[in-house]
């Protein structure tokens, strides 16, 4: 199902909205990486995503092809990892999510949540053992932090690990885990003597299972799972020695959230494009609806929000690249961009009228996906409170001081 020669296929070029010309700020390498992913999404995701969504399947070919492009773990250096800039990582997320948030979730989890903790906190042996095969996509990774009863409050998690001779025994359950069922490697956070530590659990480990969660209305082309640990036995060498406490999982989440701030732009661009084209073709009362003031108002708002979101994400990427960032900035970028993308998806659906509910158009799929994206990696409101704490110095997450 590869591309037809563009001279004959007649597909109109996807022109990503770039009103303030972010393109001119990119390096040639960043542009080439972006275009490579954009072409892949155009060829392989766009023609197949609606079917994958209907079937609730993440096609394995995509895992292989994403691996072949060499974009997994984009900003990590060494061990077979790409070593790209954070801006390039952002562009990758933008292009993947323009296709579907579920596809971008696969890559975010693999790179930022599974490869990154091994790269940052693991031993040399662990890095050499896991990272090259995860970079190639041969081994899929997932990240086990959230539990059925502990989402925004991961600190009180009850999944625990106990030492037993040469092994750790893990008991507990994780929920809402992207890639879980297809993962070869799970980076699991559990309490060891009351302190949160990271453990590498592998498919096939005794006492570990990862059933798929069915019945989702969102991220349907993504695998979402539970991770179940019933006296799960792993060798002691599987602990990530160099981190303890929430600092570990949070640093992973920061990387993923950064990618999401770009990804949301991609989804918004897709919805904007669709709304614009639709409004130019749809004739009512003898005129294209693009000529009506209320429609122009909506399109204009979308243009403004996408442009602002792009500048935010780009500058965040530059700060990640030069190291001058703080996590609260990432919170702002993630919450702002996902929020505006969800609003744009809804507004775009509105512009499409009844046609907007069909999977002929991508808008409701993006809309449903963005509900998850707004909730995961720190809900909108949690990021709100992170900023509130930053502004005031007073935490308002809990009732206790």
């Amino acid at each position: 199902m590869r591309a037809l020669p563009r001279e004959r296929s007649g597909n109109m070029a996807y022109e990503a909205l770039d009103f303030f010309d972010i393109d001119s700020l990119l390096t040639d390498e960043e542009r080439m990486v972006r275009d490579m992913v954009r072409d892949w999404v155009e060829d392989r995701v766009i023609p197949n995503i609606e079917e994958s969504c209907r079937d609730g399947v993440f096609p394995d070919e995509w895992r292989v092809e994403i691996g072949e492009m060499g974009i997994l773990g984009a900003p990590l250096k060494g061990y077979g990892c790409p070593g790209l800039s954070y801006v390039a990582y952002g562009l990758i997320c933008q292009e993947l999510e323009r296709g579907d948030s579920g596809v971008r979730s696969f890559a975010s989890v693999q790179g930022s949540l599974a490869m990154y903790p091994i790269w940052e906190f693991g031993t040399e042996e662990q890095k050499e053992h896991y990272l090259p095969k995860m970079a190639s996509g041969e081994w899929v990774g997932c990240f086990g932090l959230t539990e059925p009863d502990y989402g925004s409050n991961p600190g009180d998690m009850i999944t625990r690990a106990e030492e037993e001779g040469d092994h750790f025994i893990i008991n507990g359950a994780k929920m809402w885990i992207t890639n879980g069922t297809i993962a070869d490697v799970a980076v699991v956070w559990a309490k060891l003597d009351g302190e949160i530590k990271g453990f590498i659990v592998e498919k096939g480990d005794e006492g570990f299972s990862a059933p798929e969660m069915k019945g989702k209305h969102s991220l349907k082309a993504s695998v979402t799972s539970e991770l179940v640990f019933q006296d799960c036995k792993i060798p002691k060498s599987r602990i990530l020695p160099n981190v303890k406490g929430l600092k570990g999982p949070f640093s992973c989440l920061n990387n993923a959230r950064y990618g999401i701030s770009w990804g949301a732009v991609g989804a918004a661009q897709s919805c904007f494009n669709s709304a614009r084209e639709y409004s130019l073709s749809r004739i009512q009362f003898g005129h294209p609806i693009a000529s009506f003031q209320l429609v122009q108002n909506k399109l204009s708002w979308m243009l403004r929000e996408i442009t602002k979101g792009q500048l935010l994400a780009y500058h965040m990427g530059k700060k990640k690249d030069d190291g001058s960032w703080i996590p609260e900035q990432i919170s702002l970028a993630k919450m702002n961009n996902v929020d505006m993308a969800l609003e744009i998806a809804r507004m775009s659906r509105d512009i499409h009228g009844a046609n907007g509910i069909l999977d002929e158009y991508p808008v409701m799929r993006h809309m449903a996906n963005l509900e998850s994206v707004k909730t995961y990696e720190g809900t909108h409101d949690i990021h709100n409170l992170i900023l509130g704490r930053h502004i005031t110095g007073i935490q308002s997450f809990t009732r206790e001081p």
Partner: protein, 309 residues
Amino acid sequence: MEVTVISEGIEGSLHPVTAQLLGATSSLGGGITVLCPGGVGAADAASISGVSKVISVEGECFMSYDCSAWSKSLAPLAKGDLVVASASSVGRELAASIAAIRGIPVLQDVTGLEEGFAVTRPIYSGKAIEQITITPPCSITLRANSFDAAGSGGNAEVSTVNQSADVTVAVKQALTKAGEKLDVAEADIIISGGRGMGDPANFSKLYEVADILGAAVGASRAAVDTWEEIPHSMQVGQTGKTVTPNLYIAIGISGAIQHLAGMRTSKYIVAINKDAEAPIFGVADYGIVATWEDALPVLKKELAALLSN
């Protein structure tokens, strides 16, 4: 100015485009010499009006097509200020090779010729038109059906020259096309059916017309959704394929916005639908209000007659 026309052959006879090459250049004044590679169609060429003389160029190398051999053989005889061929695949290659041998430029796919000496040709796949002034000597190839054919009644002298050149391309085997159906996304001409066809079996009638035209057959989403026999790969539209053929013929398709999104930018659109209010007529260049049962057989007959000439 002296003109050399390289005639075009088809299956051992003179291709009708040759008469168009004559029709286009006869008004330029000066003599016109027609070169017939391998002697194909020499006698017929001599009877076209406006031809001064015909040279039947014969030799071993003309047994099969080899661009370098043919052009080496023809170039010494192609002495005109203007060397003209048809803009077919072979015509372009020969014109380009002969021009290079003679050290003159070539302009391909010309659709207009004016005194002065100016040519018009499409560029960017027809998205723009270019006008160029030439100071001969030069070579040009002419697009088929852009110029009127010269009439008959000519009586030119035919001379034969034996001039072969070394063949370096060996034809090993003729391959028959596996009769694969042309893909909608690749075709220059598409004929599509909608739910108005009534029954998937009726798509066979579309295939009959498609065969005559060398077209691909497409379908609207309604047809694909309603009938298993019509596969998704044929679907033209928002979630099917977006196509920009030179000619799109929509049969029994109402023209819902999702379908239009897939074919709206076709160069020319013909619609046949029994409902005069069908939205497809809003984008059709030529709309025919008729049932397909009535119109399609006539279309098939007319196209067969036209294209067999």
